[in-house]
């Protein structure tokens, strides 16, 4: 699995995936509190003008994340 997994920062607008885990313990707690849970469907909505931050939809909420934060969310697609 290692190396082949994709993360949210690599998604394209409109793409949908399933959250499979986190690579950063500290951020994962905050992300989960905001509704970004393992097993939840995540949709990459759009990016800010300079490509960062990005907007995602997860568990029915729209969240904005910086690219480096999005990169800590692993997905199955």
């Amino acid at each position: 699995m290692a190396g082949s997994s994709k993360n949210v920062a690599e998604m394209h607008p409109g793409e949908v995936g399933i959250v499979s885990g986190f690579t950063d313990d500290h951020l994962s707690v905050k992300l989960m509190e905001m509704g970004c849970l393992p097993g939840a469907a995540v949709r990459f909505n759009f990016t800010a003008p300079f490509g960062d931050p990005v907007c995602i939809s997860v568990s029915g909420y729209e969240l904005s994340l910086r690219l480096e934060e999005a990169a800590t969310i692993s997905i199955l697609d």
């Binding site: 313990d25 500290h26 951020l27 994962s28 707690v29 905050k30 992300l31 989960m32 509190e33 905001m34 509704g35 849970l37 393992p38 469907a41 949709r43 909505n45 759009f46 800010a48 003008p49 300079f50 960062d52 931050p53 907007c55 939809s57 568990s59 029915g60 909420y61 729209e62 969240l63 904005s64 994340l65 910086r66 934060e69």
Partner: protein
């Protein structure tokens, strides 16, 4: 709970859950802002009448996602909810959850339930939920959670009678905790409960997780907690993620049981479509800058009329009191110290109210989160955060509410930098100083046919302040080194039509905060200044009239002209005048004389005092009797004895303008920075930095231009 005292009911919920609407509906105008004891975060309280006739205190807590705090706002909620033995411990908690999507609100709800205070669940926006085809089995929900449930519509005030009935009823604490403490932590929790007499397991568990942020524990108890933590090798934060997962799995099971009809989880289409324009790389910025332009335009154009009214009103009151009160130092203090002092505070209310009307509308509508989203990348380059945009914008009206608005920035470094540079944004108190100096040294002509030169100069000064703020932020970013990570995990709320009464309450709240915070300081300083300007060493002041008469024997002075000269003479020989002359060697390199020195001294605490002082020094009576043009004319005639030319050359004028752009000169800001950073370190560094920046820049400008 004893029946003799008012029950205290705290409102808790996620941001955007409709908490403020509910608070405003419950309390109406019976709101006040105070401080939590020992904590520097303000709290909004009010009271409401319950169906049984008793009054209940309602406490509005900042919106949070979890009991684990990350920002200052969140920390206060943790402190209030976890301290069960203080006079301000709430008797009941109302948790407000967005009915259209329960999940995340329920995470907070389960944490609150586990803390063990009597809790009521208020499901808000049930009208929207119904429209989306969602419905829940409230009876099953209430049974499974162990708390009473009520459906409300906080925007329209529907369901509040039912909620108030529940508030009046005696409620037991929820019995079944949702989260079971990990076996590894049990022994530590047990010992802590026995040692510190803690009410329940989860409360004790929270003490172990975050003693450093719970100030109410006190140093001794914090040490006890740390000892117990070490003894049982309890690692804070280790299980936080697992706890969240456990809670969410409980919530998922619960929702499966109580949801009668779920919404189809199709992505929100309308919001996304609007976002494509609002966050577009061209349209997004165009819309934002157009809005900024509109805001500034209205601050300067619309606020002018009420400001003039306040100005003349207080001037009239002052001269009226001066004429009717018996002569003496006390009347003089009231007429010349107190009343102009209060007027000096009131005059800023229109601009502050208008600015916060805009900011509140932008926040209520959900647009502000998009501004943060748009600006984050740019702001980060300067060591700031997307969330710094709101404080910087507010700084154009007044730095005090602006600095208080930095509390939402979680990252310490970004928050400190934002606080540090916000006073460089040109606030409304600088405007009167700018206006008179610009009018004095910049010709009222058009450049290239349509740009008014004075307007351009004024805009340039605002830009200068903004550029200085960004540059200083960038320098600080390089200087401050901390390991703390910065992040921007933020909700983009669904767009909504703002609720106008909420906007009204925000305006009221911010204006009140300004009047009380800044007011106290401005008041105190204006009294000190009055003393400095009214008394002087020796008998020069008491002999002022004779001396002036002697000096002006050969001049034909009108009564008014004589009075004005006496006033000027008095100021020159007062303590303020003595200090002004004393600092002349220091300010001479900037192109100033002792008269400007007096103005610098008197405007040290509040820069807008400059204009009034100039009026007195140049003996033209009080500012409002004559209009600004008179001060301008008089300043224009002032001669520099060394050169024989005018005192206010472009070099001196621009030097002063730059000085006022950069100098701190606001005691209230220093006080607020002290409060917000909890110490003297940052306000003093800031004062030193801004003064140095002002001095050096003014020096450079003076020598470049002369």
């Amino acid at each position: 709970m004893t029946s003799s005292r008012k029950p205290k009911i705290a409102l808790v919920g996620n941001p955007n859950s409709g908490k403020s609407s509910l608070f405003n509906h419950l309390t109406g105008l019976n709101q006040k802002i105070g401080n939590f004891p020992g904590v520097t975060v303000e709290k909004r309280t009010g009271h409401t009448q319950l169906p049984d006739g008793t009054m209940a205190d309602i406490i509005d807590l900042p919106g949070i996602y979890s009991i684990y705090p990350r920002s200052l706002d969140e920390q206060i909620v943790a402190e209030v909810l976890l301290d069960h033995h203080s006079p301000s411990t709430p008797d009941k908690i109302v948790v407000i959850v967005d009915g259209t999507n329960l999940k995340r609100g329920f995470l907070l709800l389960t944490q609150i339930i586990d803390i063990g205070l009597p809790t009521i669940l208020a499901l808000n926006m049930m009208d929207l939920a119904a429209k989306a085809g969602i419905s829940y089995d409230f009876i099953a929900l209430s049974k499974k959670m162990g708390v009473p449930v009520v459906a409300i519509n906080a925007r329209k005030g529907v369901g509040l009678d039912e909620l108030k009935k529940l508030m009046a009823k005696p409620l037991r604490s929820p019995e079944k905790p949702v989260f079971s403490i990990w076996p590894e932590a049990e022994s530590a929790v047990k010992e802590l409960r026995a040692t510190l007499n803690v009410d329940n397991d989860y409360e004790a568990y929270q003490f172990l997780e975050q003693p450093q942020s719970l100030k109410f524990l006190g140093a001794a108890n914090q040490a006890t907690v740390t000892n117990i933590r070490n003894k049982h090798s309890f690692f804070p934060g280790k299980f936080q993620g697992a706890e969240t997962i456990q809670r969410y799995s409980f919530i998922q099971d619960l929702l499966n049981d109580v949801t009668l009809k779920a919404s189809d989880h199709s992505w929100k289409k309308n919001s996304s479509r609007l976002d494509q324009i609002v966050t577009h790389k061209v349209w997004g910025y165009l819309i934002f800058f157009a809005l900024l332009f509109l805001i500034f335009q209205s601050i300067f154009a619309w606020a002018q009329v009420p400001m003039d009214l306040i100005d003349t009103g207080f001037a009239k009151l002052s001269s009226f009191l001066g004429s009717v009160l018996p002569a003496g130092p006390l009347s003089s203090l009231v007429a010349e110290g107190l009343i102009p002092g209060i007027g000096g505070i009131m005059i800023f209310i229109p601009q502050i109210a208008i600015l916060f009307a805009f900011i509140s509308v932008l926040e209520e509508s959900g647009y502000m989160a998009r501004v943060v989203f748009l600006m984050d990348k740019v702001m980060r380059k300067f060591g700031l955060n997307g969330k710094s945009v709101v404080p910087l914008m507010s700084g154009v009206a007044c730095a005090i509410p602006a600095i208080m608005a930095t509390r939402t920035i979680e990252n310490w470094k970004e928050r400190t930098i934002t606080i540090f540079v916000t006073p460089l944004m040109s606030c409304s108190a600088r405007l009167p100083v700018f206006t008179i100096l610009v009018a004095l040294i910049v010709p009222d002509e058009k450049a290239w046919g349509f740009f008014n030169l004075q307007g351009l100069a004024l805009m340039g000064l605002y830009l200068l302040g903004f550029v200085a703020a960004l540059t200083s932020a960038y320098v600080m970013k390089l200087l401050i080194r901390v390991k703390e990570r910065s992040y921007l995990i933020m909700e983009l709320p669904t767009y909504r039509i703002p609720k106008w009464s909420n906007v009204g309450y925000t305006i009221l709240e911010k204006t009140k905060a300004f009047v009380l915070e800044a007011g106290k300081v401005i008041m105190a300083i204006s009294i000190i200044l009055w003393v400095l300007a009214s008394y002087g060493p020796g008998d020069a002041l008491s002999k002022a009239r004779e001396n002036v008469l002697e000096e002006s024997k050969n001049m034909r002075l009108t009564e008014q002209g004589l009075e004005d000269r006496v006033a000027a003479y008095k100021l020159e020989h007062s303590y303020a005048g003595v200090i002004g002359k004393g600092i002349e060697p220091i300010i001479r390199p900037l192109g100033y004389d002792w008269k400007i020195g007096i103005a610098l001294i008197t405007s040290f605490a509040a820069r807008e005092v400059f204009v009034g002082t100039m009026a007195t020094i140049y003996s033209i009576g009080s500012v409002s009797d004559d209009d600004a043009a008179t001060i301008k004319d008089r300043m224009k005639q002032e001669v520099n004895p060394e050169t024989g030319g005018p005192r206010f050359t472009p070099a001196t004028g621009f030097s002063l303008l730059v000085f006022y752009t950069f100098a701190m000169q606001c005691m209230s800001t220093i006080a607020v920075v002290y409060r917000e950073t909890k110490g003297w370190k940052w306000p003093l560094i800031q004062l030193a930095y801004m003064t140095t920046l002002a001095y050096v820049s003014a020096f450079a400008v003076f020598h470049l231009l002369s």
